[in-house]
């Protein structure tokens, strides 16, 4: 048993930290987040150059063939700086889904381009009901001749406004199917949405009579449910890693401030109320990290407890992140409540991450069902 990063993973961690913290710190990228695309183009190029985009994609398709743990290392660092951009959507949601369930043709077409930074993808899931349960979806693909005709509206599709293709979870009769849709296809309309988390971009995507060929089915027709389950598990773990990184960064800011800020003649960090607050924060941050990495490993190894541990990681990390960012604002007092201080960006991101891909209650229920199923 060994719960530690390898030396290579530690090097990856260091290089990611120094790249992001020095070249793309939150203090500068928050301006880019307000730009048209929502992220600096040079950041995306840098990620491609460093090999991050193909990190966990198979070597045969231009990737580095590393695992989800390596990916988690990078995601944790991105979480620290609230790195904006379509990394999560392209790599975690789209790339790994194709690598996992796509046809040889789909892989050959898209994976090398993803790895090189030449293509971006995303995954369209939630609809107006706001529910993450596949059973609630109404977007449907109707068979017409040898094709499918896709109709419906998806929301909160991350970075769809820059995506080349969109994986869309849709109903085919009673079952679900995942379709690979060209973002420029006739009938696809992408409209950016405003959200509280200004460091991430999402869109509403309308599919109106979009024609999709049988070769654009990911996996088999009707096999969308297990594919979506995999997408959800990976999204959970990736977000948990990001959240652990963000919470860690917020904790560090808080400790630094608690040591420096003097009130009543003493650094506020010498008061027990602040000490105990910080102590609770580190408990939550480290626990979130443990859960993120354990579940990353489980996903990487295809361990039978994948669903259960991914949901634990998502539920725990998002509550931890929310609490830690809230406490950090409180600890910082007035300065933490300003627009200028980056804390509120973390606070906003925490809430978005908590609700996106299912809230903690949803994941506790998902987890418990998986536990019951494996016990039965």
């Amino acid at each position: 048993m060994n719960f530690d990063l390898s030396d290579e993973q530690k090097m990856l961690q260091e290089s990611a930290r120094s790249c992001l913290a020095k070249e793309f710190p939150v203090t500068t990228t928050r301006k880019a987040a307000e730009s048209l695309t929502g992220y600096p183009e040079e950041l995306w190029k840098k990620m491609a150059d460093l090999g991050w985009l193909g990190l966990a994609l198979p070597e045969s398709y231009g990737g580095l063939g590393l695992g989800f743990v390596d990916l988690a290392v990078v995601l944790e660092e991105m979480g620290r700086e609230l790195t904006p951009g379509p990394f999560f959507s392209t790599v975690v949601l789209a790339g790994l889904t194709l690598a996992d369930a796509g046809s040889a043709e789909q892989k050959k077409l898209w994976l090398p381009r993803i790895a090189s930074g030449g293509a971006k993808g995303t995954f369209a899931w939630v609809e107006r009901s706001g529910e993450w349960d596949g059973g609630a979806l109404v977007t449907a693909a109707r068979r017409a001749g040898g094709k499918y005709v896709l109709n419906g509206t998806k929301y909160f599709v991350t970075y769809a406004h820059v995506a080349d293709f969109i994986l869309c979870l849709a109903r085919t009769g009673k079952a679900l199917t995942v379709f690979l849709v060209d973002a420029k296809a006739p009938g696809v309309k992408v409209e950016p949405m405003a959200i509280m988390d200004s460091s991430r971009r999402v869109s509403k995507v309308e599919f109106r009579n979009v024609a999709v060929g049988p070769r654009d089915v990911v996996g088999k027709p009707g096999a969308g449910a297990p594919i979506a389950e995999g997408v959800l598990s990976r999204a959970c773990v990736a977000m948990a890693a990001e959240m652990a990184g963000g919470a860690q960064r917020v904790l560090e800011m808080s400790i630094e401030y608690a040591k420096a800020r003097v009130q009543f003649g003493k650094p506020i960090g010498s008061y027990q109320a602040i000490k105990h607050k910080c102590s609770n924060m580190i408990l939550e941050v480290e626990s979130a990290r443990s859960a993120a990495y354990y579940s990353a490993w489980a996903n990487q190894e295809g361990s039978p407890d994948v669903v259960e541990v991914s949901s634990i990681a998502k539920a725990y990390a998002s509550e931890a992140y929310r609490k830690v960012t809230g406490e950090a604002i409180q600890l910082h007092g007035g300065i933490g409540f300003t627009w200028e201080h980056p804390l509120h960006l973390y606070f906003r991101r925490a809430k978005f991450s908590e609700l996106m891909f299912g809230d903690p209650a949803f994941h506790r229920e998902r987890m418990l069902r998986a536990v019951e199923k494996s016990a039965a």
Partner: protein
């Protein structure tokens, strides 16, 4: 023990209710309806007009003595006033610092000249006031403030910086705490000045808070000259006035706050009724019902604590222990209500105002962010808890 109006109270209630029925503005209002925001010309004018109307009706400051244009209302009548204002969905007054803080300070400590000059325009809303207490290095430890005022001839010369100055961008005047004796122990060298914000040397910079709004400002004083007659109370006696002011703030605000959290609760319930969750109304989800019930219960308890506190103040001139934790109680409860409201709509709850998908015009997104400030401003929850432990429970100072 009796929770019904006395005949006098009932009469007072009928009077304000009738006046509001005739005079409260109807129809659409400028600005964010739920924030009571004063940002923007339209909104400021709307609120100033409303204050003028209240002033003309004699309702601008019910708590002030009659001789100064108030109604000499008892505390219970003030409660009734706020209850009826809320019932009529009447807008708040624009010059709240002037009416709730500066007026009472002047009535208590001001010279006759100061009263003559300032009280009427405060009431009418013609002279908007702000409060200059906190500084970058004097937050919880307010008494360590370092903005200096030096008497040169018949003027004070003021230098320094204030922060978290409410209404800074729309105010005409500021109630300022300054250090006038740097050699004295820190509570003893502070004085209280009335400063015209249009004076040369005053720079006001809006302080944007995490909501994106700028309710507050930073105010810089660079050799600002303030006439000696604008000193309130005795020289170096400003700390006791500041404390009295903060007390006013807490006492006056407490009544209005209860009305506000009852409105939040009521909107939260409305939202729950309208929201679908797992194929049925959120109001039918047993888990959400428990959370709603918890909020409902605590809002009632806050009200009952408030009633006890009011009774105690009326009888003994000061609140009992139940009055000391009111701020901690409502601010933390409000944070939970805001959070629950956001969560009800799932990820759609995070769409802010402006987007067509926003829930309740974005009030919950705004409220979720804004509510984080409540546990900081006006004394952090940590300071509040220290005060309760030391002053109410008598635990030794750390």
């Amino acid at each position: 023990m009796d929770f019904k109006d006395t005949p006098e109270e009932a009469k007072f209630r009928a009077e304000i209710r009738e006046w509001l029925r005739k005079n409260a503005p109807k129809g659409k209002r400028p600005g964010g309806a739920w924030t009571g925001s004063l940002i923007g010309e339209d909104s400021l004018k709307f609120h100033k007009d409303w204050q003028k109307k209240l002033y003309e009706g004699g309702w601008a400051a019910v708590a002030w003595p009659k001789e100064y244009g108030g109604r000499g209302a008892s505390l219970m009548e003030q409660v009734i006033f706020y209850e009826e204002m809320a019932r009529a969905c009447a807008p708040s007054v624009v010059n709240v610092i002037g009416i709730a803080l500066v007026g009472p300070v002047l009535i208590g400590h001001g010279t006759e000249e100061q009263k003559q000059r300032f009280l009427k325009p405060i009431l009418s809303g013609d002279m908007i006031w702000s409060q200059g207490f906190s500084e970058p290095n004097a937050g919880s430890d307010l008494a360590s403030l370092s903005t200096r005022a030096v008497l040169e001839g018949d003027h004070f010369v003021v230098n320094g910086q204030k922060v978290w100055t409410s209404f800074g961008t729309i105010a005409d005047w500021i109630l300022l705490l300054v250090r006038t004796d740097p050699s004295a122990p820190k509570h003893r060298g502070i004085s209280c000045l009335l400063v015209d914000l249009h004076s040369p040397g005053v720079t006001i910079r809006p302080l944007v808070q995490m909501t994106g709004d700028a309710e507050f400002s930073e105010v810089f004083f660079d050799n600002v000259r303030v006439p000696q007659q604008n000193l309130v109370g005795a020289l170096n006696d400003g700390w006791s006035i500041a404390i009295a002011t903060l007390m006013h703030e807490r006492g006056g605000v407490a009544v209005a706050i209860q009305v506000q959290i009852e409105q939040v609760l009521s909107s939260l319930f409305d939202l729950a009724r309208r929201t679908g969750k797992n194929g049925r109304s959120a109001m039918e989800d047993p888990r959400i019902r428990q959370e709603l019930a918890r909020c409902y219960a605590e809002v009632q308890i806050a009200r009952w604590n408030g009633y006890r506190s009011l009774t105690k103040i009326v009888k003994d001139g000061m609140p009992g222990p139940e009055g000391s934790f009111g701020k901690v109680f409502w601010t933390e409860l409000n944070q939970r209500m805001q959070e629950l409201a956001l969560n009800l709509s799932g990820v759609f709850g995070l769409v802010p105002s402006g987007d067509p998908l926003t829930v309740d015009s974005g009030r919950w997104v705004y409220g979720y962010l804004r509510s984080r400030g409540n546990t900081i401003e006006g004394g952090t929850s940590e300071i509040q808890r220290n005060i309760v432990a030391e002053r109410v429970l008598g635990l030794p100072k750390g």
